[in-house]
Symmetry: C2
Subunit: 454 residues, 2 copies
């Protein structure tokens, strides 16, 4: 066979041990806190029926789905392909499965499919990779991990507060200072309604979202192009740059939304969430930010987005409430709320800010130098004793030169080297070399175990 230069598909990554321990630190922290709040793990297959995925993420999303070629002889030889078939038509003909694009649609499918086996409210978390055929760029990958946590089957705002508390806990534990931005889709809908055209909600939110970047003048031009009247745009101005205390924002909005039942409902929800959060004693700040819109259209209530304060990075966590996610799979009227942590971006932020603890490592605590067969046999019981105490230890595989064996310990950052030769086998003691100081000491296996356990 010809020799191949090894590489992986663009936008995908290998993870080396030093990256794995850091990633696992993030996953374990997130998982641990999810569980403290009573969320339970599920997993779904990497592949879903394309029919479950298509049409759920907009036209652009459909294009970004990785499609899997049907197995076997997927072309029906009795009906040959039309010569002018397009890629899109052909794809639908020869592909029935796709890789999951997020964890939300699979969750909706899962809840409907297993509804009789679940206890509602169903509190689940799910940590798995997702795949998108996006153009790869810095911080954007074609395979990346999402850590989702959702409560399904209750419209209690307690869950909004609980999830925000989880956000606070997780970022405290990871050491990332964040700002938690909150908004409510009903408020945005109410604003569109009050401006005279509820159908223009999307145009409105897109424009609001740009205020920071392009300024209110350009935003007004855009609104005008989208067909908002001069009068409507005029009335909108106080909302565009709504700053200051939350209570101030509430006052202005209560007046603005006084004729919109939806808008006032949203404001009431926001108020309740805020009241709950006040009694929760969060470490990180939260803010009510009218410009927060979030892209996906399935949100119907509270929306949440989290940004790291000390790093240049987009949102590292976000989510919200959706009232009819399971409807498309035949189970209407089930309300849920959830958030998703972007593990890859969190990783980048922690790396940039040097937040990973020095202590996390999967390296062994001790390398036993290999002096030959007899010594190797003698060391077996010592290795066994250490491992029985939960202490990782290994023996160099052959009687190589001392320099080579020490080099192995050094390059792997193994902190202790154990030397067992003729003398040690006689005395029953271990000669231990501290790889940091270079110091050597004789001790018993019990003494060494004690040191390693510290």
């Amino acid at each position: 066979m010809p020799v191949q230069r090894p590489s992986i598909p663009k936008g995908t990554r290998d993870f080396l041990p030093f990256e794995m321990v850091r990633r696992n630190f993030i996953f374990e922290t997130i998982r641990g806190i999810f569980q403290l709040y009573g969320y339970q793990p599920i997993e779904t297959p990497a592949m879903e029926h394309l029919s479950s995925l298509m049409g759920k993420y907009g036209e652009e999303g459909d294009k970004l789905l990785f499609k899997i070629l049907n197995s076997g002889d997927f072309l029906d030889s009795s009906t040959p392909l039309p010569t002018s078939v397009s890629s899109k038509e052909l794809a639908l003909k020869i592909s029935e499965k796709g890789l999951r694009y997020d964890l939300t649609v699979p969750l909706a499918r899962f809840v409907v499919q297993h509804q009789n086996d679940l206890v509602f409210p169903f509190k689940r978390y799910q940590i798995q990779p997702v795949w998108r055929a996006d153009r790869p760029q810095k911080g954007r990958y074609r395979e990346f991990f999402q850590c989702d946590v959702d409560a399904i089957g209750s419209d209690s705002l307690l869950y909004e507060a609980e999830l925000i508390r989880i956000v606070d806990d997780i970022f405290c534990k990871l050491g990332i200072k964040v700002l938690i931005r909150l908004n409510n889709r009903k408020i945005l809908a109410g604003i569109a309604e009050s401006l005279g055209d509820a159908s223009k909600l999307t145009d409105l939110t897109i424009a609001l979202d740009k205020t920071d970047k392009i300024g209110s003048e350009k935003v007004n031009e855009e609104l005008s192009q989208k067909g908002f009247s001069e009068e409507a745009i005029g009335r909108l101005q106080p909302l565009l740059q709504l700053e200051g205390k939350i209570s101030h924002k509430f006052d202005i909005l209560t007046e603005f939304l006084k004729d919109s039942i939806t808008g006032l409902k949203g404001l009431e929800e926001m108020n309740q969430v805020r009241e709950r959060l006040k009694s929760l004693d969060l470490t990180n700040k939260f803010d009510f930010d009218l410009r927060l819109a979030r892209g996906l259209n399935y949100y119907t209530g509270t929306i949440i987005e989290v940004k790291a304060l000390d790093a240049e990075m987009g949102s590292i966590c976000g989510g919200g409430r959706y009232d009819n996610l399971t409807g498309i799979f035949g189970l209407p009227g089930v309300s849920g709320v959830g958030i998703s942590f972007g593990a890859d971006r969190i990783y980048d932020v922690m790396n940039e800010l040097d937040l990973f603890p020095q202590t996390i490592t999967t390296t062994t605590k001790a390398l036993f130098v290999n002096f030959g067969e007899k010594e190797e046999r003698y060391c077996n019981s010592l290795l066994k004793a250490l491992r029985a105490e939960g202490l990782a230890a290994e023996m160099y595989p052959d009687q190589a030169k001392m320099k080579k064996q020490m080099d192995y310990a050094n390059r792997k950052n193994i902190p202790w080297v154990v030397l067992i030769g003729e003398n040690e086998m006689k005395t029953g003691k271990l000669t231990i070399k501290d790889m940091l100081t270079g110091e050597q000491n004789e001790m018993t296996i019990q003494e060494f175990t004690g040191i390693l356990k510290k």
Copy 2:
């Protein structure tokens, strides 16, 4: 949008919380022991270039690869498709990526690609799903997890012994009694050589493997059909049913292989592995079994296969030594040895034998009954106190009827329910209901924490 009846692709599975905790118990046990022996985690992408995968698993394997449709407008419209294109030809034209089929070929690719960043011998483990377009049947899935552990870059037989010790440790910890079968590819090659035709190694191993199922007479017929001479078949007979002590097998084989350098080398390796294992004091039995062949052709030395003694199940773990796995990716002469644990089969065996500890659960320890807003606010600090001690606790999301809230606790197997009403808020004590006995007691949060920690 039309309502869809939810389902997942055949051969794939959802995992519910009760399954997840059991699966995680297996993964954590395996991972923990891998780490005790100095193996470090890596991960590779779900997708590899098809060119990295094709031709590595035989013709049948190529067919079982899940291929991913190229993104975007994958048909080159300037060169229309020939009308008589076959599925195979078309697939190669419109698909450049495939889902990984195992963790061994990705490991080889990884080692070559990252050789300058790795410390050799490179001891790695990898726990990830793999995908095969196999016909689904009981115990065979299209997505399943492999737990691989390999030592790369050393030909020391210490690693064979270490891996077998890992097998022994893991199955002890999981509570599965196993038989560890060993053989050596060089011995099989030596036998083929001694019979006069080294090229017939594959035919020979296939036939040997069938002795148990079809009996030696039928095996002899098959060997004859494959072109083995009567004389060769006659000489082979004592080997077909080689039973008894390992030392007896060695005696017979030493005589049989006396003219085959390869065969004697294999016997010497097997002897060294056996000597090492004798000093390791394993709990499970190991046996030298000449009929063990293992399908994949990349093995060149020791081969290992593990079966559960008390369950009807194929091999639950297997592996061996390969001398040139990385050669195809441009790095010849690197020897490695590894084994793979089949998590899905191990799960099935543990379920069948009822081996999962009763204690593994991700359910919360305590449900706080929701009596209303005031009580909810009061309970926040209690929930916080429990979680700060690492104790999972949750509050019911709204002031539902007591029966409904108790039902939730019961169905989720939550062992304790906390009742905080007017009275408790006055006294500062908690009323705790033991859901197993139905007993109710008043106590402080410290006392309750003490109970939960037991």
